[in-house]
């Protein structure tokens, strides 16, 4: 409403020849909500760039606490409020709000030509096949290692599973905790499985299990779970209670030599002044390609109830351009979902190279649409597996059964 008024006002001014002396036109104020508090500075810079070419739009970026973001957002939307521009998650979490009609469909309004089909699927509502959010960045599961500790123990980054186990044994002998990972926060162990398991269950398993050709009781998956169980001895003492914060503290303090985690950790390692490198999970045997698990982290959407939809769409269109992708890469060190950017950062370039052999991060991408989610089941199972309370077969069966009988 405000915007159309300002346009009319401008037109009137131009018509009367007063345009030169016109004061700054009335502005459209947009609210932009996100869960990325650590990115606020970079987003404000990106927004400032956008506002340079759109002087009539004024965007306010608000980041909520990540854990509570879903709750805050869904409560606001359910109450008929919420921001104009919404930083959404992808897959099941997105369907939660797009399925309820809170988001504006973007097909035909935004140019998606720079975004790969596989990533657009993460922001498409399965029920109507429409895209509701512009994919923004991908995350990749990596195995980080501390170069100084590797030198101290006299080991080099392992290529295969056998080498990986030799390296961990040598680190242990040198009195270094090989792996910082613990299991207290369930999601961190699921992330770790994203580095180890795909190289054992192989490239075709994802397609087979999502198309219903096989289930999680498939021998390939059971074998991969067996490898996860072998990680426990390399984790810190008391790994049952080692949570995410402790994991990070162990790795940044140089107490643990490796950390299996997402690509979003890089800024934290740099800030800690760590001499680190990273690689894909080890291959099952020499000569196999090493795959990394990736997923779409989320996207940008427009609130269907926003009074300033057109202005919000203008910003959303901007997020689908290579120009935006370049800023995302350079300012936020994210691997952009929108293609066509050339990141300056070396680590980012290396991740993009690792992504040449990628596989979907299985539970998030395909099994978080129902309750219980594949993630809940897998996290429960992995905890039991690593504490020796369940066999790989039992875990596989629990996951398969749980997915077969939704609540």
């Amino acid at each position: 409403m405000k915007r159309s008024i300002s346009i009319t006002a401008k037109a009137a001014l131009v018509a009367t020849g007063l345009a030169v002396a016109a004061p700054a036109a009335a502005q459209t104020n947009l609210d932009f909500w996100s869960w990325r508090q650590e990115d606020a500075k970079a987003y404000n810079e990106i927004i400032a760039e956008f506002e340079k070419t759109h002087p009539d739009i004024n965007i306010t970026y608000t980041a909520h606490e990540a854990k509570a973001y879903n709750t805050i957002l869904t409560t606001a939307l359910a109450g008929g409020a919420g921001p104009d521009i919404i930083h959404t998650r992808a897959y099941g979490s997105l369907e939660n709000i797009s399925g309820a009609g809170y988001l504006e469909p973007l097909d035909g309004k935004v140019d998606f030509s720079h975004i790969p089909e596989s990533l657009l699927r993460g922001t498409t509502l399965r029920a109507d096949g429409k895209v509701y959010s512009v994919p923004f960045a991908t995350q990749t599961v990596l195995v980080y290692y501390n170069k100084d500790l590797f030198d101290k123990a006299g080991v080099t980054p392992p290529e295969t599973w056998d080498e990986f186990k030799q390296v961990t044994d040598k680190l242990k002998e040198a009195g270094i905790t090989p792996l910082a990972n613990g299991i207290a926060d369930g999601w961190t162990i699921e992330v770790a499985s994203g580095a180890i398991m795909p190289n054992f269950y192989g490239e075709s398993f994802f397609g087979d299990v999502t198309s219903g050709k096989t289930t999680f009781e498939d021998p390939r998956y059971v074998a991969a779970l067996g490898k996860m169980a072998e990680l426990a001895p390399y984790m810190p003492t008391g790994f049952e209670a080692v949570d995410y914060a402790t994991m990070k503290a162990l790795f940044t303090s140089g107490s643990a030599a490796m950390f299996i985690g997402g690509s979003w950790e890089i800024p934290a390692w740099r800030e800690a002044g760590l001499n680190f490198g990273f690689m894909a999970g080890p291959a099952a045997k020499a000569g196999d390609t090493r795959m990394v698990a990736t997923w779409l982290d989320g996207g940008y959407a427009v609130n269907a109830a926003s009074p300033n939809k057109e202005a919000a769409l203008e910003f959303i269109r901007f997020t689908a351009t290579p120009e935006f992708a370049q800023m995302l890469a350079d300012k936020l060190n994210n691997v952009p979902a929108v293609q066509g950017a050339t990141p300056k950062d070396e680590a980012l370039q290396q991740i993009i190279k690792l992504q040449e052999h990628q596989t979907p991060y299985i539970m998030l991408v395909a099994f978080r649409y129902q309750k219980p989610t594949g993630s809940t089941l897998l996290q429960d199972g992995l905890k039991k597996l690593l504490t020796g309370q369940a066999t790989p077969e039992e875990v596989a069966k629990a996951v398969a059964d749980g997915l077969a009988s939704p609540e």
Partner: protein, 315 residues
């Protein structure tokens, strides 16, 4: 005339009083309606519908309640959580309130430094639960934590367990933290109740040669019954609504292996979902909240009735 005026003045005074009362009561009543009654009624309504994410679907009657109580997965989680809440209540009654009772009895004898102890015991109560949960989580950390460092220092490295990571120790550890946080409150309430008992009762018993144990059991204990009623009911409500400490110390999933799952966590998880737990489900969540409310409400009233009936009058 005078009498009539008097009557009128009285009527006006009464009307003014009523207006004044209405003026004073309206804001809290409004707040109560908006923030208590409407959410309660809407929770009941929500629980009768099918929900698809945030979209309200069809009216399905008591189906959500049936799923929670008898559905294969939800009911297993419900009864696990409920059983844990029962454990919490029993443990807190014995450990936290029992300890408080002993302390109150001791403090009631006016030991040296009585004031000092009273303040010290009450200090943790005024700290924020978030701070306490977080601080104890750090103390109990398996790698850097004070507790395990101390155990190792004293040569007890076998005892240096990952306290919050084992299903056997996680809940007891959290209950000790909660007891540490709250024991000052029942102590103070019990102490006040003991101080209310006229000293001549106790002195008379002493003159008659009654033992201290007998005085405690037959005079102090029955006469402090009203305080016990309050503490039991508050502990009951607190135990079945227990949320902050488990959430802060072990997260939304009630890990490890559901050993610290509580009705409150289950409700939050079901209704709002979480990043990895899944999508929000207001229907089952609201139904669970309604069941929790009914259970706590009914049992609190029954408990209050029963406990009040055994209180003896002091005359």
């Amino acid at each position: 005339m005078e009498a009539v005026d008097f009557e009128r003045a009285k009527a006006i005074r009464q009307r003014n009083l009523r207006l004044w009362l209405a003026f004073l009561l309206a804001p809290p009543a409004l707040v109560l309606i908006i923030f208590v009654f409407i959410p309660m009624v809407s929770a009941v309504l929500y629980s009768l519908y099918e929900w698809d994410g945030l979209a309200r679907g069809e009216f399905i009657g008591l189906r959500n309640f049936y799923d929670i109580l008898f559905g294969p997965r939800l009911s297993a989680e419900l009864f696990n959580a409920f059983w844990n809440n029962v454990k919490v209540f029993v443990t807190l009654m014995i450990v936290q309130n029992g300890y408080a009772l002993v302390l109150a009895m001791l403090l009631a004898r006016n030991p040296r430094g009585y004031r000092f102890y009273q303040v010290v015991f009450f200090l943790p109560v005024i700290l924020s639960t978030v701070i306490i949960g977080f601080q104890w989580k750090l103390f109990l950390n398996p790698v850097f934590g004070l507790v395990n460092k101390a155990l190792i220092y004293f040569g007890l490295s076998d005892w240096a367990l990952p306290w919050l990571g084992l299903p056997e120790t996680a809940l007891p550890a959290m209950l000790l933290v909660n007891s540490w946080h709250w024991f000052g409150f029942p102590t103070l309430v019990f102490l006040a109740a003991i101080h209310r008992i006229p000293t001549d009762f106790i002195e008379a018993a002493r003159l008659d040669g009654a033992s201290e144990w007998r005085i405690a059991r037959e005079i102090i204990w029955p006469l402090m019954a009203p305080a016990v009623t309050i503490i039991v009911v508050l502990t009951f409500i607190g135990s079945f609504n227990w949320f902050e400490i488990p959430y802060i110390m072990n997260g939304l999933e009630g890990s490890p292996e559901g050993s610290t799952d509580m009705l409150g966590l289950l409700f939050y998880r079901t209704a709002f979902g979480s990043v990895s737990v899944g999508t929000s489900d207001f229907g089952h969540g609201s139904a669970l909240a309604v069941l929790m409310f009914i259970f706590i409400f009914v049992f609190s009233i029954l408990a209050t009735k029963y406990l009040t009936s055994r209180e003896v009058e002091m005359s």
